[in-house]
């Protein structure tokens, strides 16, 4: 997988779940960026990160009704949808941006989500 995955993590959920993964090999090639809330992740930011050569952007937000800022992850979901539509338009494949709702204590599902994204990116790269 050319370039790494940039994980835009809400500091209340994704960031803590990532921290508890410690140096699990699933985190190889994953660059974590800490945000106050997934609602701070903007569509333009996601596309710019991809432009700079990242293979994928994984936005990690709190599950609905678990968000410290009440609507953050719901906004992030909409912005990821716009980013995916833009990638589809550009013919670059929408799986390069993905949104996952992972709470701070759901370590196994985070590992599974990262594995799923890496597999999707490799599959896409095989095709492209």
């Amino acid at each position: 997988m050319k370039g790494g995955i940039v994980a835009l993590c809400c500091e209340n959920s994704g960031w803590k779940a990532l921290a508890s993964l410690g140096d699990d090999p699933v985190l190889d090639g994953v660059e974590a960026v800490r945000l106050p809330c997934s609602g701070k992740a903007e569509t333009g930011m996601m596309l710019k990160i991809l432009e700079k050569g990242a293979a994928g952007v994984l936005v990690l937000g709190c599950p609905k009704d678990d968000c410290t800022f009440l609507r953050g992850s719901a906004r992030a979901q909409k912005r990821v949808a716009v980013a995916r539509a833009a990638l589809k338009d550009a013919g670059v494949g929408e799986e390069r941006v993905r949104m996952e709702f992972i709470s701070s204590v759901d370590t196994p599902r985070l590992a599974e989500a990262i594995r799923a994204m890496k597999a999707a990116l490799e599959a896409h790269e095989g095709k492209a």
Binding site: T43, D89, A90, G91
Partner: protein, 223 residues
Amino acid sequence: MITAVRKPFDEIRDLVKGYDRLLILGCGTCVTVCMAGGEKEVGILASTLRLADQKDGRSREITEATIERQCDREFFDAVKEKMAAADAVLSMACGVGAQFCGEVFAGKAVLPALNTKFYGTTEGPGVWSARCSGCGTCVIADFGGICPVTRCSKSLLNGPCGGSSKGKCEVDPANIECGWQLIHDRMKLLGRLADLEAVQPLKDWSTGRDGGPGRIVKEDATL
């Protein structure tokens, strides 16, 4: 405000096919409010184009800028150098701004990125709907403050067409309220239902678009 929506990406990509140095110019007023052409949308369109170029192996320089308004000459000064450096400008302003940009920079290829829609209002976050068609002779006073020309799909002035059901217009029952239902309810509310009996005279459409492109001169304001 003037509302607009972005053109489909494939259409935009074809428009800018031949140009190697492209400036995407946003407008900070109406189209920002209706989320079509502000700095955020400029960033998204620019990144999408660059990603598409990367995929096609096409080298192209795409710069971004957003000015206050594209319908006033002086605001373009802020982007003079970027304009000069670009082969073409993809204007994310409404139709007014896109055309005026072409006038201010005569000889520069200016391409529209948006489809301008209507004079509208924000019904709620993310939802805009038309209120006026600029016919040049406002008649809403006779209809309780609701414009039949705009709100009725067939612009009927003397009563409904009868095709509405449950207050929705037959043209698009899901989204369009029947203009005349609105007028009826409002007039009833105002206790002026009887006034609708009056026959509306033939409308002089020449005051609007049908009278040719509009022009206003306010003598005291000319320098």
